[in-house]
C-alpha cells in the first residue's frame, strides 16, 4: 500500500493547476547520420535538420529534434510514415544513415497548466527555467530516461519508454494530488 490516504480528491481540484494527458501515437523515428551529411539527408526528408542539441525544426507537420551530434528524433503524423521510410531508403546509397522506427517504443504525456513546471520538479533535476519554449532535451525524470519537450511556458510533453510509463505516470499523479493539496 502506498499510504492509507486515498485518491478521492475531485478531478477538478487536481486538474485546476495541472493536467496530465496521454497523447495519441504518432510516427517516430530515430535518425542517425554523420553531421556532414545531415543537411543532404534532411532535404530528402523535407526537413532542415537542426545542428544544435535541443533545437527543433518543423515542416509540413514533420518535426526533427536534435538529440545528439549525429542523432535526431523525427516525428510525423502516422499517415506520413511510409513516405518518410521511402524517402530515406531512396537516399541511403548516397547518404548512408540509420532510420529506425520507434513509434511504439515510447508513450507521450502532455503536462499542462499553471503548475506544470512545478510538477516536473518533483523528479526532473534540470533547471527548467533554462529550457525555452520550442526546445526539447533528453534527460531523466526520477530514474527514467525521457525526452522532455517544452511547447509553451506552461505546456510540456514527456516521451517515456513504454515499460517505464506506468511508473512515471504514477509519480506525476502523486505530484498532481500533492499540488492540489496546496501545501
Amino acid at each position: 500500500m502506498m499510504t492509507n490516504q486515498t485518491h478521492d480528491f475531485t478531478l477538478a481540484e487536481a486538474t485546476a493547476r495541472v493536467r496530465i494527458d496521454e497523447l495519441a501515437p504518432v510516427s517516430r523515428f530515430s535518425l542517425r547520420v554523420r553531421p556532414a551529411q545531415a543537411a543532404t539527408l534532411g532535404r530528402a526528408l523535407g526537413l532542415d535538420l537542426p545542428d544544435r542539441i535541443g533545437r527543433i525544426a518543423e515542416a509540413q507537420g514533420r518535426t526533427a529534434l536534435c538529440l545528439g551530434p549525429d542523432e535526431w528524433l523525427i516525428c510525423a503524423p502516422e499517415a506520413a510514415r511510409d513516405a518518410i521510410v521511402a524517402a530515406a531508403r531512396k537516399a541511403y546509397e548516397a547518404t548512408p544513415h540509420s532510420l529506425t522506427e520507434i513509434s511504439d517504443r515510447e508513450i507521450s504525456y502532455r503536462i499542462s497548466g499553471p503548475a506544470a513546471q512545478e510538477l516536473l520538479t518533483i523528479a526532473c533535476p534540470r533547471d527548467l527555467d533554462l529550457l525555452a519554449p520550442g526546445c526539447a532535451v533528453r534527460t531523466v525524470f526520477d530514474t527514467v530516461q525521457v525526452v522532455l519537450w517544452r511547447d509553451g511556458p506552461q505546456d510540456f510533453r514527456l516521451d517515456v519508454w513504454r515499460s517505464f510509463a506506468p511508473h512515471v505516470r504514477a509519480l506525476l499523479e502523486i505530484g498532481q494530488a500533492e499540488l492540489a493539496a496546496g501545501l
Binding site: 542539441i53 545528439g68 551530434p69 534540470r126 533528453r138 531523466v140
Partner: protein, 99 residues
C-alpha cells in the same frame, strides 16, 4: 551530486544524466594479437589511480549519449575540464595554472 559540463551539448548539467566510464586515453591496440602477455595485461588492468587530477571518461548517457573526456581532481571532486572524445590530452600544468 556533481554538475558536469557536456562538451557536445555545451551545457552544465546534473550528474544524474551522466555515467562514469573509467580512465581516459587508454587506446585499444591496433593489433592486439601482436602484444605480449605483459603488454596486454597492462592495457586491460593497469590504471593510474591518481590522487589529484585524473583523466577519465564520462558518458552523457541520458542526454546526447556521447562519451567524452574529463579532468577531475579526485581529492576535491572538482572538474577541471571536459573535452570531446578524440581530442588530445590537455597539458596538466597549464590547466592547473589556469585554475
Amino acid at each position: 551530486m556533481l554538475l558536469i559540463h557536456c562538451p557536445y551539448c555545451d551545457e552544465t548539467l546534473p550528474e544524474l544524466e551522466f555515467a562514469y566510464a573509467g580512465e581516459a586515453h587508454i587506446i585499444r591496440p591496433e593489433d592486439p594479437s601482436a602484444m605480449s602477455d605483459e603488454e596486454w595485461r597492462d592495457f586491460l588492468f593497469i590504471r593510474t589511480n591518481a590522487r589529484g587530477p585524473h583523466f577519465e571518461r564520462w558518458r552523457h548517457v541520458h542526454g546526447c549519449a556521447r562519451f567524452f573526456n574529463a579532468v577531475r581532481d579526485t581529492v576535491s571532486d572538482r572538474f577541471l575540464l571536459t573535452y570531446k572524445a578524440g581530442e588530445p590530452r590537455p597539458d596538466l600544468a597549464s590547466l592547473e595554472a589556469a585554475q
